[in-house]
Symmetry: C2
Subunit: 240 residues, 2 copies
């Protein structure tokens, strides 16, 4: 996943080892998000489809694994933010796009999770962290500047709402539904609850009743009730 900037002199990993490493990283991100940073490492290994020994071989201990997950998250977040700002002329559009993209990374909630587990201020993490924060701040500044985002909505608001939206909902909800709900709820936040806004399009994602919700753990989620697109249900399409 990460294009690891392999230091010179150290021979690169064998192909299978590299593959396992990135699978472990992805699995760790998901497991830590779902069950907290104290989750059993055996579950991480299992979900990555590798043996526990491989996890210990790639990442010496829980700390290193956490650090790697965070580093990965920061790098991707920064790239995502920069791309959004570069490609969307309107500040609000850039912000919206950034937020949806970050949800797909399933990454924003990792940083607060590890806050009392690892040191974010060391020389490896600090620069990436600063750069990432700056990239996000640029988007927010842009949205403030062209008046499309109220001044009292700040960095922390955006970041924390992303944390709330990124965390998988508790209970036996299938991951795919969870992802679609996250995007729908982001739409809800972005478009607001009140009606009568300038020609509001219907929000994306499944419009579910309590009944639907109850059945969602067994059956596949209902097709979008309010809109027609995304028949394949890839789960990555959404408004805007």
């Amino acid at each position: 996943m990460t294009q690891s900037p392999h230091a010179e002199g150290v021979r690169p990993l064998r192909a299978d080892a590299r593959r396992n490493q990135s699978q472990l990283l992805a699995a760790a991100r998901d497991v830590f998000l779902e069950r907290g940073v104290g989750a059993p490492l055996e579950e991480v290994a299992r979900r990555a489809g590798v043996g526990i020994a491989t996890l210990y071989r790639r990442f010496g201990d829980r700390q290193s694994l956490l650090r790697a997950v965070v580093l990965d998250a920061l790098v991707h977040t920064k790239a995502t933010a920069e791309r959004a700002l570069a490609e969307e002329p309107d500040g609000f559009d850039a912000l919206t796009r950034y937020m949806h993209a970050v949800l797909d990374l399933r990454v924003s909630a990792v940083i607060p999770l590890v806050l009392d587990e690892i040191d974010l201020d060391d020389e490896e993490l600090l620069p990436v962290r600063t750069a990432s924060a700056r990239a996000i701040q640029l988007i927010i500044d842009a949205a403030h500047a062209d008046g499309t985002l109220p001044d009292d909505v700040t960095f922390a608001d955006i970041g924390l709402m992303l944390v709330r939206l990124s965390r998988p909902l508790p209970g036996p909800i299938p991951p795919e539904l969870n992802a679609r709900l996250a995007h729908r709820h982001l739409d809800l936040l972005v478009e607001g609850l009140r009606p009568g806004r300038h020609s509001r399009e219907p929000i994306g994602g499944p419009s579910m009743s309590l009944q639907d919700l109850r059945e969602s753990s067994s059956r596949p989620p209902p097709t979008d009730a309010s809109s027609s697109e995304d028949p394949a249900g890839t789960g990555t399409r959404h408004r805007r």
Copy 2:
């Protein structure tokens, strides 16, 4: 906390026992919310300020405790919903008020949490559950009816957003700040992100920078940057 409908023939609990029971219930709710339903019962007891034996004396096992927490949650939710609907003429106002009140109960996220741990369909829980759901649905219907809530915003949307907002944010955030942020983020959802809405008042709660956020685990949260009220910082004041 609950006015337990003491069955006849069974002598009522002694005063200290009753107090401990409700403290345990509150502690259990918080601990399960923070660390999941698998959290050590010893921590529940510690937070309730009682010995572990007392927990086992009041609630035979983890299951019973979970059931009691859920029951408590449902009863309070229902009451809150009914009060909101009765006292607010406007549908949207009722909904908003209900949502803020539920956040204060710190209760909505418990139901999904226990979904695969206990049976919600038995004869004790089912009626309360149905009644509670109906009360909420009434509010939503009212808001739909007088056009203050878009039709495609459903029961599940409201419920799940409350779950997201009720769960304490991960990381070392003091509980009091967590509560204020939850209300602020609800305001964000309710009022939306876009500016220029009909004379929007500033949203409540701390308007924080990344810096503020970082320091929030050690220092007390900053006084509201955007508004002046709530100098005592009781944490229960918010917009609307």
